[in-house]
């Protein structure tokens, strides 16, 4: 089975280094208050990872800018989601 990394490798990105457009507002909420962690399950690019101690880490480089993580975090509203700066982020070749 293709790993998601292999899929994302086919895509074109212009990464805005050091300026992630999505951030977790309060890491403690993910670690301590949210058992379900729907962002980890639903993100189609697997940007979110659940660590062994229950923390959630986020790397936005492969983000497809769909908005899923923000919408699915409906109980805690803990995802600060903006579009990347103009011209940055995913650049769909076909869409």
């Amino acid at each position: 089975m293709n790993k998601v990394e292999e899929k994302l490798f086919q895509n074109r990105y212009k990464v805005d280094a050091g300026r992630p457009h999505i951030q977790i507002a309060d890491a403690d909420i993910c670690q301590l208050k949210c058992a379900e962690k729907p962002c980890v399950v639903c993100c189609p690019a697997s940007c979110y990872t659940k660590e062994g101690d229950g923390r959630v880490t986020l790397i936005t480089d492969g983000c497809l800018e769909c908005g899923t993580c923000r919408v699915v975090c409906s109980e805690n509203r803990n995802v600060l989601w903006e579009y990347p700066r103009g011209g940055y982020g995913i650049l769909f070749k076909f869409g």
């Binding site: 089975m1 293709n2 998601v4 899929k7 994302l8 086919q10 895509n11 212009k14 379900e36 729907p38 399950v41 639903c42 189609p44 690019a45 697997s46 497809l64 800018e65 769909c66 908005g67 899923t68 923000r70 919408v71 699915v72 409906s74 509203r77 989601w81 903006e82 579009y83 990347p84 700066r85 103009g86 011209g87 982020g89 995913i90 650049l91 769909f92 070749k93 076909f94 869409g95």
Partner: protein, 432 residues
């Protein structure tokens, strides 16, 4: 940019392009802002283009628009893990110009549409993200961009910024999307030689096939799968309500991998080279989830306004039509010398109500709730129907009357007599 425009359109997808083109062509001073490197580079669709909506806006679009294949055949598959029961409609009527629908590749199509927008006289600025709306009290008077000194002002702002519409949310025009009102779709594009596609799908040059799938392809979640033929590629994908993915804890890229392994799909994509993986939210909340779509100095069009007919897999045509009607409203007000106040912009809503857009949205208003509350339509029925087909077609020495009895028994065991009648009634009501 201290100058003032008649209209600012935010976003260069089908709705924004339709609005910008129509307004610019009528002589309005239009500024359109797009955050992508070029129009289309942030946009994702299946994608099928329905000619009618575009034809009303650009009658000669077929002359130079990048179109892949016109669809002559539509297949619907109700799927089990290893089989499907399907229906096919193929007709020469759909193979006779002017063609009714085409497959398109959005990155190319949107660029073409944007060229037409610019030719019509609009100023299109890419690689610029709109970060907020400028308000004067309750009235939208302009936009803030991420460029330095990036404030621009206009008489009216058209929000064509897509399903997430962060601007509408920030401005308080609507709340956050609910997971049950959006479907998350993932898709891939696989390249194959033209002749391979044509022999596999039994079609000639420029002719195309669309396959829509329901049932186990979504692991029983509310959603559908699709496979479309482009000129020298296939796009395939699967989309499910976000609330369902969340509840079932299914990761979307695993869903599309399973889809590609289905014995009916695998041979169709065999040997293809995968060149892109996309994901997109589709607003599927229907009529009841439409947010306020106009106010003082602003109009909302396309996905931002929930304008998708999920039953018929239509969205871009609704997007174009809403953009077109929004622009027409602004043109009328300009011609009458009236301001773009909330009261005057209500005319946009009236135009929508009279068009197929709201009529279709209203017709299927109960569908999201019916499907959400009745998972059997995506789980038990596809299995029952596939097993029934297998039972009836398997020649094994059992007499047909006994086979029919078996099939009937399985339906009643799974759904009960009243359940079957109730399900039929629910579907009839939802489609009525």
């Amino acid at each position: 940019m201290p100058e003032k425009f008649d209209v600012i359109v935010i976003g260069a997808g089908p709705s924004g392009n339709a609005a910008a083109y129509t307004a610019a062509k009528a002589g309005l001073k239009v500024l359109q802002i797009e955050r992508g490197e070029s129009p289309g580079s942030k946009n994702v669709q299946g994608a099928i283009l329905y000619s009618d909506a575009l034809e009303k806006i650009i009658p000669d679009f077929r002359d130079d628009a990048p179109l892949e294949r016109h669809l002559i055949e539509q297949r619907m598959w109700m799927m089990d893990d290893e089989s499907y029961v399907g229906s096919t409609f193929r007709s020469q009527a759909f193979n006779t110009p002017p063609y009714n629908r085409y497959t398109i590749i959005r990155a190319q199509f949107d660029k073409w549409f944007s060229k037409r927008v610019q030719d019509a006289g609009a100023l299109v600025i890419c690689e610029t993200t709109v970060t907020g709306l400028h308000m004067d009290g309750a009235r939208v008077v302009g936009i803030q961009t991420d460029r330095s000194g990036g404030s621009v002002y206009a008489d009216a702002v058209v929000l064509a910024d897509g399903v997430n519409s962060l601007l509408a949310k920030k401005a308080g025009f609507r709340g956050e999307l609910r997971p049950r009102d959006v479907a998350l779709a993932v898709k891939e594009i696989h390249f194959l030689p033209e002749t391979t596609i044509e022999s596999r799908f039994n079609i000639g040059p420029d002719e195309g096939v669309a396959i829509e799938m329901a049932g186990k392809i979504t692991q029983g979640m509310v959603g559908t799968g699709f496979l479309y033929t482009n000129k020298e590629s296939l796009t395939l994908g699967v989309g499910c309500l976000l609330s369902e993915l969340r509840a079932q804890r299914i990761t979307p890229h695993v869903l599309i991998e399973k889809m590609k392994e289905h014995p009916a799909i695998r041979p169709l994509i065999e040997g293809g080279e995968m060149k892109e993986y996309c994901a997109h939210l589709i607003p599927e909340g229907g009529y009841n989830a439409i947010p306020p779509i106009h106010g003082d100095g602003w109009l909302m069009v396309g996905d931002a306004g929930m304008f998708v007919n999920s039953v018929h897999r239509e969205g871009s045509n609704l997007a174009m039509t809403t953009g077109w009607l929004a622009a027409q409203t602004l043109i009328e007000l300009r011609n009458e010398g009236k301001p773009s106040s909330a009261a005057n912009l209500a005319r946009y809503r009236q135009k929508l109500d009279q068009s197929f857009v709201m009529k279709d949205m209203k017709k299927y208003r109960d569908m999201p709730a019916v499907l959400e509350k009745n998972p059997q339509f995506f789980t038990q029925y596809p299995e029952l129907i596939n097993r029934a087909a297998h039972t009836m077609l398997l020649v094994d020495g059992t007499d047909k009357k006994s086979k029919e009895r078996d099939v009937r028994k399985r339906f009643i065991q799974k759904r009960s007599r009243f359940g079957l009648i109730g399900d039929a009634f629910k579907l009839w009501r939802a489609f009525e």
